[in-house]
Each structure stands twice: as structure tokens, then as C-alpha cells.
Amino acid sequence: MKRNRLMYDYEAYVLILPNVIVYAAFILIPAIGTIGLSFTDFNIFQSTFIGLRNYTRLLEDERFFRSLVNTLNYTVGTIVPSLVLGLLIAVVLNNPVRGRAGFRMVIFLPHVLSVVAVSLAWMYLYNPSAGVFNQLLRQMGLPRFDWLRDPNMAMPSIIGMQIWNGVGYYMVVYLAGLQTIPDYLYEVADMDGASKPRKFFSITLPMLAPTTFFLIVTGVIFSFQVFGQVYIMTGGGPLNRTTTIVHQIYYRGFEGYQMGYASAMAVFLLLLTVTVTLVNIRLGRGRGATDEA
């Protein structure tokens, strides 16, 4: 019996071995290597151990702090509206609305497009002279904006694009969550004469807590890694108002060849992401959001 059990395990390990090797080679080992590099001044050609100097440099780097603030602004700015819009759209499209399959497809479609393609397209939409948005505003006699050139407008412009790009995903996940709410809860509420808003706030929202929790956790993780949109649309400007942590990692690592310092930033991002995720999980447990997870 024991011998059969070992043979069974052996087969399983053999089957997962290729995936483990690839994961170790391209994710795990580089991640460990990055931690090691963060204690050096590696620039591709040479490397010297410098202890914690890269980390103390982080504390003095105004641009890095700017990128941290920008990343947090981006995260809150994209997740909150996406949650609200995604939920509202999901609630509407969960009803037998005519053509709802088509609506679902259209709203989800931006999410499957590449970040590069979306960013390039929106750059043209935001063009101050020839862009569609300013042309429409001009037609309506309204003031036009320097969307990506105005330091106060650049990050909101990127956030706006990202909400358009990501709300379909939130909608789809919420739609799945809505399917898990038992119908009898609504039937009982109807019998008690509950209004639609009352049912939404007393049944739908609480029952979607695990879904919302999932979206917040994954949304934070992905938002902390924002890069492509910033790199393509603004290059981190104007005046560093859109640079993010990953953009700074790229800038320092691949334009400045300060790989050691970039590695320290990456380690910081890893610790930040893990910390925020753990806080989210703890808060979610407190509210019962993880009960069904």
C-alpha cells in the first residue's frame, strides 16, 4: 500500500516537474537574485557589495517618493470607480435586458486588448490638437484640455483610460458573484415588501463581499505594477506627476543601468505589495469577506 502511494506521488511530481523548472528558472530564481542584487551596485558589467546603501538611497530619493505617491493615487483612482461601475453594470446586465450578451461583450472587450495598443489609441484621443476629445469639446464650445501635458491632468487621464480598460473585468467577476446569491433571499425580501435599493444594500452588497474583497486584493496587486500605460503615454511626466514605482525601476535599471538600485526598488515594491495584501486579507476576515473564499 505504501509502495503504491509512493508510485502515485512519483507520477504527480514528474508531471509537474517541467512547470516547476520553468517557474524556478524564470520567476523564483530571478526573484531571489533580485534580492541579492539589491545589496550591490550591479551595472551589468561589474558588481560590488554595498550593503544597505541602495535602501538608504531610497529614503533620500524624492523622485522615488513621488512615484510611490503616484502609484497609490493610481491604485485608489482606478480601483474605487472600477468597483462601483463594474458592480452597477453587472447588476443591470444580470437582468433579462435585451441584447445583454452583446453589451457584456462590448464592455469586456477593452480588457482583452493589449496595454500598448490601448495606450497608443488613447494617446491620440487625448491629443490636444487633433484628438477626438478636444475636437468634441471644441464643437460644444467648451474649454479644451492638455490632457497628458498638464501636470494636474496627466494622471487622471491615465486613470480614466484604465477605468475604461478594466471595468469589463470587474463586471464579469461581479456577474459571476451575482450568480451565487440564492434567489430565495430576494423572494423573502419581496414578501417583506423590500424596495429595490433596500434589497441591493441589504442583500446584494453583503453577499458580494467575498467578490469585492477578491477584486480589491487583485486590483491592488495589479495596480502597484502599472507601467506600460505610463511608459507609452507620458514617460513618467510631466514633472514626474505620472511616474510609478515600476516605471522608476525600469528607468533606473534599463536606462541608467543602475541595476542594483532598481533591484532595491523592486524589493521595496514586493514588500509593499505583500504588506498591503496581508492588511487587506486581515480586514476582509474581520468583515467576513473571506468566509466563502
Binding site: 514528474v14 508531471l15 551589468i44 558589467f45 501635458r149 514617460g235 510631466p238 514633472l239
Partner: protein, 408 residues
């Protein structure tokens, strides 16, 4: 057991591609020397070098040159990775930002010894030679594009200006810009002068600096020169274009898009501009007659196994014939005085470009801290352009940041 054996074979099969990719290729014994030539650019840029290679292989026996054209965005990463792996090219192109770090890491062959008696020393513009030199040793030669003053004939005429009479001083440049700018309320519809406030803004700043008497961003000891009185004056002038709404904050090529009346623009944009605007684009010398030169350096790798042959290929590229082929196919300007007649005969605007090359300036000698220069000065220019800092404060902060970064 049989079932386990099948599963093991399946698992090994998944790993098979890795075995193949890890396999090395043996080299067959061959008397022909193989040289690698790497060029940054797009596929069409390779056409010039294919022609040069053909000429070289006909001239030199038993040598075969392998050309590789790599997009700019990936080029430095690929190049550095090859150096780190000990398999760098024999002859290759480099940008300004790459030259210093590559030299600092010992990957450039000192050329003085190999170029003794070479005609290029007397024929090539001294500024182009200096740009690729460090402490008196030549490591690379610049194949330049230069900045010239491009104007729109139609916009000049609409503003009542004579397009054949360009501004001859910074004061006149400013006056022209004020007459040429077109606004719609608060918005600039047509810039008087197309300037960059962030990306590549140091090139614009250097243009203004050269007009007030300083054409370097660092001295021969690599100390910053961007907190001098001249630099502050230049940035003050540049700042005024933004704050007085003669230029926008766009880093796009707005002159190319027809949204600016004047621009300090690269010579290799000429064909595209003329295709877009025809005779409405006129090229003039800079107001002070001196142009900033940028472009691509050519160098020989210090790790080459065949330095003499690699230098011969380098000389082929830098020959009068090679430079004219590069001009025709890639748009980079010739630096040799001996091709002046042929170059000028190709197009009237080449008079401006030739003058720019022969009287031009670059950033200075090779600086391994080029990234730190850019990292310090671009934010300073941007902050001044937006009125967040006075030019003096911005540039002094930039110099301090540069020294701090270099001192790490």
C-alpha cells in the same frame, strides 16, 4: 511501472526544447575571418551597410562581415548583454548616452595606434573627432545629424516676414516667434518656436547656450558646466518661450505635424518634412551659425579577435565613399571636407547641413556619466519651463544632483 515509464517520457518530452536550445554550435575550421557589424536602427538602415560591406569584402580577401540591425529601444540592452557574455561585435554603432558607459567598461578599442597615417585625421571635422575622444585618445567617430533652423515659408509670409531672411540673433529669434505664434484664446494653435520642455530638452538648452557663448555641458574633467552664468542665461531665455506662451509643453515633433512655425530640427528629418510640406519648409543656419551635432558613433570593440581587420572595416565606413552611402541610405551626414562638392550638389539645403557639421559642436568629450547628466538636467529644464523654479535654482540643483549621483 510501464505507466510510470510513459509518464516519465512525457515529462522529459516537455523539457526537450530546453536541451535543444542549450546545445552549442561548433565552428567549422575556416580560413575566412568573420567580423560582426551591429547597427542600431530599423531594417532599412541596414541597406547602407550592406553596400559598404560588399565593397569591403571585395577589397579585403578572406573576410566575411555579418550585419545585424537592432532597433534602438533594444540596442543597448542587447549590446551590453553581448559584452557581458564576451561575444560583443567587432564594429558597432553607439548613441551619445551609450558611449561613455561602454568606454568605462573597457569595451572600446583605442584607435590612435591603428589609425596612424590615416587621412581622416585631417579630413574629418575636429568636433566630430573630439566627440568620440577621451583624454586625447580616439575611440569612436560620430556620424552626425545636426540641428538646423527649419521654418515654414507659408507661415512666415502670413506673418509678414521674409522667409529667406532668417533670424540672425536670439533677440530676432524671439521677435520672429512673437510674430509667428497663433493662439486661440489661451491655447497655442501654432507655436512660434517648437521647443521641448522634457524629453531631449537638453539639446534645446545647449542650442541656446551655444548662442550665449558656451557649447559644453561638462568640461574635460567631466565636471558639470550647467550652473554657469551662460547656462543660466540660456535657460532663462528658453523659459521665457514657455511662460510667454510662444511654445507649448509638448515633447512631440510639432513642427513635423504642422503645429509650429520654426524649429531647431534634425537634418535627417529633411526628406520627411519635404514630403509633407514641399517647398514650404526652408532650412537655415542657426542664428549664430553653429549647430549642435547628434547622431550615431561608430567604434571598434576592444574584445575583437581581429583588431586590424575590424579597424579596416571601420575605416571603410568612415571613408568618403562610405559616408556618402550612409548619407544616401540612412540620412546621417558626412563629416569629411573632401566630399563637400559632391554633398552640396545633391540638394540646396545641404549647404546648411555641411556648414553645421564643419562648424558644429557636440556635448564635449566622452562622459561615462551621461545618464547622470540627463537625469539631472532634464528635470531642471522642465521645472524652469513650468515656472516652478527660477533657472538659476533649477540648474544649481541639477549640478548638485549630478555631483551627488556621480560621487556614489
Amino acid at each position: 511501472m510501464r505507466k510510470s515509464g510513459v509518464l516519465v517520457l512525457i515529462a522529459i518530452g516537455f523539457l526537450f526544447p530546453f536541451y535543444l536550445s542549450a546545445g552549442g554550435s561548433g565552428e567549422a575550421a575556416d580560413e575566412t575571418v568573420e567580423l560582426d557589424l551591429w547597427i542600431p536602427g530599423s531594417g532599412e538602415d541596414g541597406e547602407a551597410y550592406e553596400e559598404i560591406i560588399e565593397s569591403f569584402e571585395q577589397r579585403v580577401d578572406n573576410v566575411s562581415v555579418s550585419l545585424r540591425v537592432i532597433p534602438w529601444a533594444e540596442y543597448f540592452t542587447v549590446l551590453n548583454t553581448s559584452f557581458a557574455g564576451g561575444v560583443g561585435p567587432d564594429v558597432y554603432g553607439l548613441g551619445f548616452g551609450q558611449l561613455g558607459p561602454v568606454l568605462a567598461d573597457g569595451n572600446l578599442l583605442p584607435l590612435n595606434e591603428y589609425l596612424e597615417g590615416w587621412d581622416g585625421w585631417d579630413d574629418i571635422s575636429p568636433a566630430m573627432l573630439e566627440a568620440g575622444s577621451s583624454e586625447g585618445t580616439l575611440y569612436a567617430i560620430l556620424a552626425p545629424e545636426i540641428r538646423a533652423l527649419a521654418i515654414r515659408r507659408d507661415l512666415f509670409e502670413d506673418a509678414g516676414l521674409d522667409p529667406e531672411v532668417p533670424p540672425s540673433s536670439l533677440d530676432e529669434l524671439r521677435e520672429y516667434a512673437e510674430q509667428l505664434v497663433i493662439r486661440d484664446g489661451d491655447r497655442i494653435e501654432i507655436q512660434g518656436l517648437d521647443l521641448k520642455s522634457s524629453f531631449n530638452s537638453e539639446q534645446e538648452l545647449l542650442q541656446f547656450m551655444a548662442h550665449v557663448g558656451q557649447d559644453r555641458l561638462w568640461n574635460d574633467q567631466l565636471e558639470p558646466l550647467f550652473e554657469t552664468d551662460e547656462a543660466i542665461e540660456a535657460l532663462t531665455i528658453m523659459q521665457s518661450y514657455f511662460l510667454d506662451r510662444l511654445s507649448t509643453y509638448s515633447d512631440d515633433l510639432e513642427f513635423d505635424d504642422g503645429l509650429a512655425a520654426m524649429s531647431f530640427i534634425s537634418s535627417n528629418a529633411a526628406p520627411q518634412l519635404e514630403a509633407s510640406f514641399g517647398d514650404d519648409v526652408i532650412w537655415h543656419r542657426m542664428p549664430n551659425g553653429r549647430s549642435g551635432a547628434w547622431g550615431t558613433f561608430f567604434a571598434v570593440g576592444n574584445g575583437t579577435n581581429h583588431p586590424e581587420l575590424a579597424v579596416e572595416l571601420f575605416k571603410e565606413i568612415m571613408s568618403p565613399e562610405g559616408q556618402m552611402v550612409i548619407l544616401e541610405k540612412q540620412g546621417l551626414l558626412p563629416t569629411r571636407r573632401s566630399v563637400e562638392e559632391e554633398f552640396l550638389s545633391l540638394h540646396p539645403r545641404n549647404e546648411v547641413f555641411f556648414h553645421g557639421v564643419q562648424n558644429g559642436y557636440t556635448l564635449g568629450t566622452i562622459n561615462p556619466n551621461f545618464f547622470q547628466v540627463i537625469d539631472a538636467i532634464r528635470p531642471a529644464i522642465e521645472e524652469a519651463a513650468h515656472g516652478m523654479k527660477e533657472p538659476e535654482e533649477a540648474l544649481r540643483d541639477a549640478a548638485e544632483n549630478y555631483r551627488r549621483e556621480v560621487g556614489r
